[in-house]
């Protein structure tokens, strides 16, 4: 106790008190006092413990385990920033809920994440969560992204790495100072070397060298029986030991910085807006066809699905799709109305048998085709389906792509009005045929292209209106090679009146 007090008396007590105390008290430096032994031992234990901790954190890398410096606090209170966590690779089958996993950060490519396995998602992926987070990680990770399971936690040794990353130079400086102090303290119980010009390892006890000459112990080394070594050997041993210790520290620190990846155990916080839902009306009103002039039936072909063609006239004469038909989708934008495409032997039949074909009538539809084999566009046939034995009032396309309208007049027989131009150009065209009692007219795209007054009405057969296919007499002018029209049709309508040219033009302007 007495000695202890005296050691603290040196007037130049600033700085490393203990070190200077040693140097300035010749009597005490000769033989290490108990307090020095205790102090030195404590210092050595602390330093060696630090070295061991570094070893614990670095050595597993040799086994392929992954040491990681924890950079953020999202796993608190269990794992703190500055800890080093060593993750042991395990087969994915050994992963279990509750384990702390080191994974590739799914949200930040190139980063690692250290979070707890809280649940397995139904798809086999892993749901993680930072202990300090209020919610699970939003992005799940695949088992293949797991580097390992947290196995060893070495507290605090990653602090220098953390400080370096955060540019906390003051903390780093203080740590360096503390390590130097500990190194100096660890040598307190060493007696100074015998040679008068020998100094303590300068780096470890700075400032002590200049005072060594005055404190050279008179005690010969041989007096110290357990240590019968020469001062040179002792010095060498001291140097080697110090060097080795330094090497361990440097290697471990380098290992920490180099081998250890930093795990950005991520804090996350979501602000979620619940699922919004938008639902479209079952029938876009903008797609509804403009129906005027009281048609007998009107097929808008806007349904896009199903095997029937609802009647937009309000008369309920729902058509039936027969044979090769397919819906063409469309929209309200521009000239993009949905339509019906007819392929081989595809047509639309109507449900109502008409006992006598009307004297005045109009057939109207839009067509788009490139066919060169013509076909029946609309007609009044004796049969509901298949090929009628008798057809009259037939609107058809010739092989040349011209539009033709034929009736079987009572006196003169078959009369056909044919357009001068062809329309099988892949574009939409409005086609209208009227029978007024005074003339038969053919309109294309809102304008009359031909008219005949030689035939004013057809036969009053019983039968059905048809769209797209029926028999046609080969004797008719330009009778097509195919009775089936291959192309796309839209807005097919039958009127029991003869539409005026003004109305036909209005229909064309309104579009399909």
């Amino acid at each position: 106790m007495d000695r202890h007090r005296r050691t603290e008396q040196p007037p130049s007590g600033a700085g490393a008190v203990a070190v200077q105390g040693v140097s300035r008290q010749p009597g005490l430096s000769r033989a290490a006092g108990p307090w020095r032994i205790i102090l030195a031992t404590v210092a050595r234990v602390i330093l060696l413990t630090a070295v061991c901790l570094l070893g614990w954190s670095a050595a597993p890398a040799a086994l392929g385990w992954a040491p990681t410096t924890v950079m953020t606090g999202s796993m608190e209170p269990r794992i703190h920033p500055g800890d080093v966590v060593v993750a042991r690779p395990v087969p994915s089958t050994e992963l279990a809920v509750g384990q702390v996993l080191l994974v590739d950060d799914p949200d930040h490519p190139g980063r690692l994440r250290l979070h707890r396995f809280v649940a397995a998602a139904p798809d086999g992926s892993i749901i993680l969560r930072g202990d300090a987070n209020r919610t699970d990680d939003s992005t799940h990770v695949q088992p293949s992204a797991v580097h390992g399971v947290g196995f060893i936690r070495v507290p605090l040794v990653g602090m220098p790495v953390l400080w370096l990353a955060e540019r906390r130079m003051v903390a780093l400086g203080l740590l360096t100072g503390a390590v130097m102090l500990l190194l100096a303290a660890a040598r307190l119980d060493r007696r100074p070397p015998q040679a008068s010009n020998a100094a303590y390892t300068p780096a470890q006890t700075p400032g002590s060298g200049q005072e060594d000459p005055g404190v050279t112990p008179p005690v010969p080394a041989t007096d110290n029986a357990p240590e019968p070594i020469s001062s040179t050997a002792g010095r060498r041993r001291v140097l080697v030991g110090a060097g080795a210790a330094l090497a361990v520290v440097v290697v471990s620190a380098a290992g920490l910085v180099g081998v250890h990846a930093a795990a950005g155990a991520t804090f996350s916080s979501p602000a979620k807006n619940p699922t919004s839902s938008l639902s479209a009306s079952t029938a876009f009103s903008c797609l509804a066809p403009t129906v005027s002039d009281s048609p007998y039936l009107f097929y808008g072909f806007n349904e896009g699905s199903g095997s029937t063609a609802p009647d937009a006239s309000g008369n309920g004469r729902t058509g039936t799709l027969v044979g090769g038909t397919s819906w063409l989708t469309g929209s309200c934008a521009g000239d993009d109305s949905p339509a019906l495409t007819l392929s081989t032997n595809g047509y639309v039949s109507t449900p109502t048998r008409v006992s006598a074909a009307p004297t005045t009538m109009s057939m109207e539809l839009w067509i788009r085709t490139s066919t060169t084999s013509g076909g029946v566009l609309m007609d009044f046939g004796s049969s509901q389906t298949g090929s009628s034995s008798a057809t009259d009032r037939v609107l058809y396309l010739t092989d040349a792509g011209k539009v033709a309208f034929g009736v079987y007049a009572s006196v003169i027989g078959a009369e056909v009005a044919t357009s001068p131009k062809a329309y099988n150009d892949g574009q939409w065209h409005q086609v209208v045929a009227t029978l007024s009692g005074t003339s038969m007219s053919l309109y294309v795209d809102g304008a009359r292209v031909t008219q005949k007054t030689t035939a004013t009405s057809g036969r009053a057969n019983a039968g059905y209106w048809r769209v797209g296919q029926d028999a046609i007499a080969s004797s008719w002018t330009g009778a097509p090679s195919s009775t089936s029209f291959e192309g796309t049709v839209d807005d097919a309508a039958v009127y029991t009146t003869a539409l005026s040219s003004t109305r036909v033009s209005a229909h064309y302007t309104a579009g399909r």
């Binding site: 279990a96 799914p106 699922t275 639902s279 876009f284 699905s305």
Partner: protein, 205 residues
């Protein structure tokens, strides 16, 4: 002299013991420390996360009171709607906020015909979009179809946005979401539905 020699000798022995004894002591100490630390960290215990143990954190909230931005039916081509949502960061760490879609669903392909424009700015709230002002620069967060959002922005990593709260003070940013049902929506999408949740997530940067 003999007394001093004996004492020195004894002290030397003590010193030696102390010297070499430090090694097993350090080994034992470090081993115990690690064993304890590891057990505490990796024992599969449930941790109550509500305690704020952390020196810093990120916290994000919005003003929607858990109400979906849109619940609209009977939409026709050309239909449109707007909603503003205010998102606030109260965290103490610098973070980056990303927006992404969750649980997308669609029938009849409607989501391909719902156009979204998401704009960031200030002013306005979930209750009233009045006062929303887009940022002077970089206000556009997303322009495209709902279907594209649903496939392109699905997680934090693929999330949208450039907002990086500093963490030094609370920050609020408002997002205006505008949908338009394309005028060219095909009849095939009639009766269709489109759904998506929007999540803003902050992660420390």
């Amino acid at each position: 002299m003999s007394l001093r020699t004996a004492r020195t000798s004894r002290t030397g022995r003590t010193t030696r013991i102390a010297t070499w004894g430090a090694i097993p002591a350090a080994l034992a100490l470090s081993g115990a420390l690690i064993a304890h630390s590891s057990y505490a960290a990796f024992s599969a215990t449930t941790v109550n996360p509500t305690n704020n143990w952390t020196t810093g954190t990120v916290a994000l909230s919005d003003d929607d009171s858990n109400t979906a931005a849109f619940t609209v039916s009977n939409l026709a081509p050309g239909a449109t709607g707007t909603k503003v949502i205010a998102v606030t960061s109260n965290g103490s760490l610098a973070s980056a906020v990303k927006l992404y879609g969750t649980n997308p669903a669609t029938t009849n392909g409607l989501s391909s015909y719902v156009n979204l424009v998401i704009t960031q700015g200030t002013g306005g709230s979930f209750a009233s979009g009045t006062g929303f002002t887009p940022l002077a620069t970089g206000s556009n967060v997303y322009t495209g179809t709902l279907a594209n959002l649903a496939t392109s922005a699905t997680s934090y990593a693929t999330g949208l946005g450039t907002w990086t709260p500093t963490g030094s003070a609370a920050e609020t940013r408002t997002f205006q979401i505008k949908y338009t049902v394309d005028s060219a929506t095909p009849n095939a999408a009639q009766g269709g539905t489109a759904a998506i949740g929007l999540t803003w997530e902050a992660q420390n940067s």
